[in-house]
């Protein structure tokens, strides 16, 4: 199994060159919201391990909210962020990228402070790679190669079934399956269908994963007495804040909303980037750090097969702290339109959103950290839209495929490779088409 990795290279933009940077980013698109995979800055399409990539200017429109709640507003930079999600180890992918797109990347990063002609590109990128507090991968181990092969497999099976509907429908489930298995065998022999065996899971990943898998519960266990002692105080602190924290969720500016809408819904999947400031003080900072640490654990070991709690529309997502935990960035790649994505979120994981985002300034009022909040539907939607940033460049290596498509394709392949099935199992497998 090949695990997925990611990076986010982030550097402050030289604001005197912002417009030139915007032009350069725009030149990477066919049109607004639709990237040219072969653009000459970063030809994403050339990288077979790459799932998603984006370039986004982190220009915070909501910094003023600090003033609204009477907190000091430190001047924070505008960043250029470059995010990639890909198969295999980080180092080799980054070197490959820096090697193949050296000129383009240099042009890009020359708009950032502290980047000059003499800078060593790969090293600089590594230095500016910002870790996520939480990363989510829909299906750990599903590589792009697998995605491509399995989709081709499904399509060829679907057309075979379409062409032989009458005869196949007369067969018992196991017989029909056998028929399909031998069709695929013939196709593989003819080289029309390719199904590569997964690579072995890297030993180093397995070791570090095992340490983490056990380590976190051990640490939690050791911390438990202290956490329990602290709990009553935590509750008092929390409730006091929940009663008084200000909501800042006006309707988003119509022009801002229109800008965002232009970038959306060109494909069945969409990008989402948003940032905001944490509520000032150590309480929120520590609470959020702890929560994201726990969520990160669950995304690695529990929610790694198709769904994050009840949400099954996210391909990759991450939460990243910025500026010494003064701000948080959330970036995701998801299926469907934003309004339906938000509806899905509110109804399915309102509690989870509250856990994280109620630590941000202006979030709709929560109770006991998980109740209410997002259930104030319209305020929540305004809050989200208002914090959303236009994603200037977005690349999706499988733009026609939703997470559910990918899962279905994987289940088709798994069923195909099983040595035998009962009639019932075979019938369920056949229902995948």
């Amino acid at each position: 199994m090949t695990p997925q990795s990611y990076f986010m290279v982030i550097a402050p933009v030289d604001l005197s060159r912002e417009s030139s940077l915007r032009e350069l980013l725009a030149s990477m698109n066919h049109r607004e919201g639709v990237v040219n995979p072969n653009n000459d800055v970063i030809p994403f399409g050339r990288f077979e391990r790459l799932h998603f990539a984006r370039l986004v200017l982190l220009k915070d429109q909501t910094r003023g909210d600090l003033g609204v709640i009477g907190a000091p507003q430190a001047e924070l930079p505008v960043y250029l962020a470059f995010l990639c999600d890909f198969d295999g180890p980080l180092d080799s992918f980054m070197s490959e990228l820096a090697g193949q797109c050296e000129a383009g990347l240099r042009r890009l990063f020359s708009h950032c402070q502290g980047f000059s002609n003499g800078t060593h590109l790969a090293r600089w990128m590594k230095q500016h790679n910002q870790r996520s507090a939480t990363a989510y991968v829909n299906w750990i181990g599903r590589t792009m190669r697998q995605v491509r092969e399995e989709d081709a497999l499904r399509q060829s099976l679907e057309s075979y079934i379409d062409g032989n509907q009458a005869s196949l429908s007369r067969l018992a489930p196991t017989e029909a399956r056998r028929e399909l298995v031998s069709f695929v065998k013939r196709e593989r022999e003819a080289g029309r269908v390719v199904l590569t065996e997964p690579d072995a899971t890297p030993l180093s990943w397995r070791v570090s994963n095992a340490i983490h898998l056990l380590g976190v519960p051990i640490v939690l266990l050791l911390l438990t007495p202290f956490l329990l002692l602290y709990l009553p105080i935590f509750v008092i602190q929390l409730r006091r804040r929940e009663r008084s924290d200000a909501e800042i969720a006006p309707r988003p500016d119509p022009d801002h909303a229109a800008n965002l809408a232009r970038l959306e819904d060109h494909f069945v999947s969409n990008q989402f980037s948003a940032m905001g400031s944490l509520k000032p003080g150590l309480f929120r900072r520590w609470t959020l750090s702890f929560i994201l640490w726990v969520i990160d654990y669950t995304t690695r070991y529990i929610f790694n097969r198709g769904h994050l709690a009840r949400v099954n529309t996210i391909h990759f997502a991450r939460w990243v702290f910025l500026d010494n935990k003064q701000r948080l960035l959330f970036a995701s790649n998801y299926d469907g339109g934003l309004d339906s994505y938000m509806d899905d979120f509110i109804n399915k994981v309102g509690w989870g959103l509250n856990l994280v985002f109620s630590n941000g300034i202006g979030y709709p009022k929560t109770n006991w950290l998980i109740l209410d909040g997002a259930k104030d539907e319209q305020k929540f939607k305004y809050f989200i839209r208002r914090h959303e940033l236009p994603t200037e460049v977005w690349y999706d290596a499988h733009p026609g495929l939703t997470t559910v498509n990918l899962e279905r394709n994987t289940l088709i392949r798994e069923g195909l490779e099983r040595s035998s099935m009962s009639e019932g199992e075979a019938r369920d497998w056949l229902r995948l088409f």
């Binding site: 232009r262 069945v268 109804n347 319209q378 899962e407 279905r408």
Partner: protein, 501 residues
């Protein structure tokens, strides 16, 4: 029955009644030339409210405004700006069109009306009458327009198809039951069963919606209502509620290609009459006479009246594989009839497991959003000449004249209700784990970026392998449409009393 929660005299009748007993109707699309004269005319207009009458009326008049119409008649921008974004930017806004499937031949630029701001009427007068009464009413109304400072921009005349839509299916069977009396709790807790009793605030502004909240709408300071015409906002004391007892009305003129529909199905089954009908029924998700395809539930469903039990007391829990009613059937897409959590027991542990996302069975177990936040009141009426199935097929699918549906629905939040159903459920090629197909009845069959095709329809079979129909043409074409606001009676009086130029 007494309804303590609501003053029906302040609500336009269409919210409560479909006016099935007034089978003749037409919709006049009007432009306001002189706001002053139009306001005077509005004062005298006899708009039917929702109060129950001892004798059924023989005529009813309703009036709805577009955003530009409200501005034109004199509503200040300060108030009008507080309407929802969808209503303000209009149905034709580009990114909206993508979500609604209004692309290709259905693109707003192809529409006969409503496709851009110039072709959007200011207001719509809706006339409903008993048989034989419409013509006279309509003529009288039209004659009075010019002195009312109004110009006629279009007249959409409906036809009485006798409760059947143009393809031949019984329509108007399933509707949400409006919770007029405020029986629902609305405390933010998950609903574990599908229910058909839906919060009043989903269909009328100024009341609590399914989230227990008040949908955003124009509120104004007392000073802006010097004559004290408007009601006070329930949720914001000290503010007047312009939209109280009003709602949004979505209007889409959908041409139905009846010939193409039956010819295509006929070709699929080699001319077999009963097979042809069976296939059409699988696409709609009901029998032509209206019977459900899924099995009737043994326990009653709240909000489904006893007289509707036979046709409506069902969910799709009894049909998890879609072998009775295909996943892609129109009614299954339009109302998947689910609860807030996937099916399970009432135990705390079971709830927790489902809340964490481990409760769904199979890959399809938990894909669909809770339906109670996505309901609409349908008030559509047919138009054109009926075309019997045999004639439709005989002419090789070619048909003379235009027929279809004046699709009308009412909802308090266009984006969460109508647009969600239309976009995320009906038009989506990825609904409920499917792929390469959209709604068999209303789908546009247009290509979607990087998806090979969208014009198939899968029919799950008992034996396992689906039967799939391919190459389905579009059976409807969008001809026009607009987002309207259907004000409460007090708001109409408020508009008529404005004093601007």
């Amino acid at each position: 029955m007494k309804h303590s929660k609501i003053d029906f005299k302040d609500v336009q009748g269409l919210v409560r009644y479909g006016y099935g007993r007034l089978p003749e109707s037409c919709f006049l699309l009007l432009e306001i030339i002189s706001p002053r004269a139009a306001r005077d005319w509005l004062k005298t207009l006899d708009v039917a409210d929702a109060e129950e009458l001892s004798t059924p009326p023989d005529f009813a008049l309703q009036v709805a405004f577009t955003h530009s119409g409200l501005r034109k008649i004199g509503l200040s921008s300060e108030i009008a700006d507080q309407f929802s974004q969808e209503f303000k930017t209009g149905i034709y806004e580009e990114s909206r069109s993508k979500r609604l499937g209004d692309v290709g031949e259905n693109a707003p630029r192809e529409w006969q009306w409503g496709g851009d701001s110039d072709n959007t009427p200011h207001l719509m007068l809706m006339l409903y009458s008993v048989k034989g009464g419409l013509e006279a009413r309509k003529n009288a109304t039209v004659d009075g327009l010019s002195s009312a400072g109004l110009a006629l921009r279009g007249c959409l005349t409906s036809a009485d198809f006798g409760g059947v839509e143009p393809f031949g299916f019984k329509d108007g069977i399933s509707q949400p039951t409006v919770d007029w009396d405020g029986k629902r709790k609305l405390d933010g807790r998950d609903e574990l069963e599908y229910g058909n009793l839906v919060a009043l605030g989903e269909f009328l502004l100024g009341h609590r919606n399914e989230y227990g909240k008040y949908t955003d709408r124009p509120l104004l300071d007392l000073a802006n209502d010097p004559r004290g015409i408007l009601a006070e906002a329930e949720d914001k004391p000290g503010k007047k509620d312009f939209a109280f007892n009003g709602t949004y009305l979505v209007f889409r003129q959908l041409q139905q290609h009846v010939g193409r529909f039956w010819k295509f199905l006929d070709d699929q089954v080699g001319g077999d009459r009963s097979e042809r009908q069976r296939l059409a029924e699988l696409m709609v998700g009901r029998k032509m006479g209206g019977e459900a395809l899924a099995v009737k539930s043994s326990s009653p469903i709240p909000g489904i009246d006893s007289d509707k039990r036979d046709a409506n007391q069902f969910t799709f829990s009894s049909d998890p594989d879609g072998t009775r009613c295909p996943f892609g059937a129109h009614v299954r897409r339009a109302n998947p009839r689910n609860a807030d959590l996937p099916d399970g027991t009432r135990g705390l542990l079971s709830k927790l497991i489902r809340t964490l996302g481990f409760g769904g069975k199979g890959f399809r177990g938990d894909l669909i959003s809770s339906v109670r936040f996505h309901r609409i009141l349908r008030r559509g009426v047919e138009y054109g000449e009926p075309l019997p199935v045999n004639d439709a097929i005989k002419n090789g699918g070619n048909e003379i004249g235009e027929r279809g549906l004046h699709f009308i629905c009412l909802n308090a939040n266009i984006s969460r209700q109508f647009e969600f159903i239309q976009g995320a459920w009906l038009s989506s090629t990825k609904f409920d784990g499917m792929t390469e197909e959209s709604d068999p009845i209303i789908g546009n069959r247009e290509a979607v970026s990087e998806c090979p095709f969208t014009n198939s329809f899968s029919i799950p079979q008992e034996a396992g392998l689906r039967r799939r129909i391919s190459g389905i043409p579009a059976f409807i074409t969008v001809r026009g449409g607009s987002y309207f606001f259907l004000p409460g009676i007090r708001a109409l009086r408020y508009l008529s009393s404005l004093e601007t130029d």
